[in-house]
Symmetry: C2
Subunit: 210 residues, 2 copies
DNA sequence: TCCGAAACTGAGCGAGCGCTTAGCGCGCCC
DNA sequence: GGGCGCGCTAAGCGCTCGCTCAGTTTCGGA
């Protein structure tokens, strides 16, 4: 866990690694703007304005607007991958590990909906090279979840006819939380995480023999 | 079912209701462009060019670029709602009706991925009035799925602790197909529909007493 | 045969875009 | 305390955007 600061919106700030301060403020402003309006509908003037700077200041810290998106996307994917790796590597049965992975992955998508939206839905706005790099990270995300499901099938805890398809569905379900989750809605990230962990265990036919 | 024509991309054409011919060609071109690049990154020159017309021709048939998106979104949502209503109203057990609803809804999202992408992911690009109208249609979509699940719970066929949450998750799972489905990938829309129907029946704990 | 409405084009307007450049102010080190 | 460089701003360049409009083509009906 990083040192948890909060924005006015109440979201966690995993951007402590971005320095100097002005570069981080610009990046946080860009995350908010991209999440609200989308990458293409966001102007560099808007980003700079949110960060309390002039439009030209952006180009001291970032070569282009796309570089901002690339940085956000890479850091976000690394964080998501880190969450899944932590859950996948812990002690416990496949059932416990899968429930942990899903609930923490969902909590990240719901609680950090602003970031998650940009990370999950603006992939196509990246150029070819940057997109290829991010797709590599996504493959690692997929592999992490598939490994847990395969463990469960091997141990007999899970009943899954189509492992790749079910892996895809589980990830898809979690990722789409970023699209519909509403901070002002009736559900907390923790509630959604618990609900989704239960639903996913049903999907894999979990019946732990303990 | 509409009279099924196909584009070069192999997708069904549910746009027969759009007349005259030039207006339909522009709308189909807009669907393709919006799906590829997103609404904000698509130019009116690109849409007109794909339809084989000059940029000015667009404004004879549509007042603004946004009106194009609005028309696409409304027609698409009505089609999606129609699919779910048909499945929900048919004869059969809740299990059969839910499986039918999910598999046909998923087939629509996978087979008509181009349209579904625009319909599901460009809602925020609409103005306030148009968005409110579309949100109304989405509520009807949600109600349709929830009704089937509630039937299953009432009859004892399903075991669902959180009906609204599970409804949300089922719809979310289906909708996200439009994001990841790849026409050149290993799965046909029919395969995904069958896989997802099975996964959803597991999610609701289906155990039909027949 | 001619007319008028409808469909469409070529040219271009005002606005806003991403990004650049010249120069200013201020903290830091000698 | 003086100079230097980093971080920043004001101004604006070249371009493309959504959209408009005057004019051309097309074609059914009188």
């Amino acid at each position: 866990m990083s040192t948890a600061e909060e924005t006015a919106g109440g979201e966690l700030q995993p951007w402590a690694e971005v320095t100097p301060d002005a570069a981080r403020r610009l990046l946080v402003a860009a995350v908010e703007a991209f999440a609200e309006r989308g990458y293409h509908a966001t102007t560099t003037r808007d980003i700079a304005g949110r960060a309390g700077m002039s439009p030209a200041a952006l180009y001291i810290h970032y070569k282009t607007k796309e570089e901002l998106l690339h940085r956000i996307s890479r850091i976000g994917h690394e964080k998501a991958l880190d969450i899944l790796r932590t859950a996948g590597a812990r002690e416990g049965s496949p059932t416990e590990r899968l429930a942990d992975a899903v609930s923490s992955f969902v909590r990240w998508h719901a609680g950090g909906r602003t970031t998650a939206r940009v990370v999950q839905y603006e992939l196509d706005s990246l150029g070819a090279d940057a997109r290829a790099e991010i797709i590599g990270l996504r493959r690692q995300v997929d592999a992490e979840v598939r490994a847990i499901i395969e463990d469960g099938v091997a141990s007999g805890d899970f009943d899954v006819p189509d492992v790749p398809g079910t892996t895809l569905a589980v990830l898809s379900l979690c990722i789409d939380v970023a699209r519909w989750f509403n901070v002002d809605g009736p559900r907390t990230p923790e509630m959604v995480g618990a609900l989704y962990a239960d639903l996913v265990l049903r999907m894999v036919g979990s019946h732990p023999h303990a």
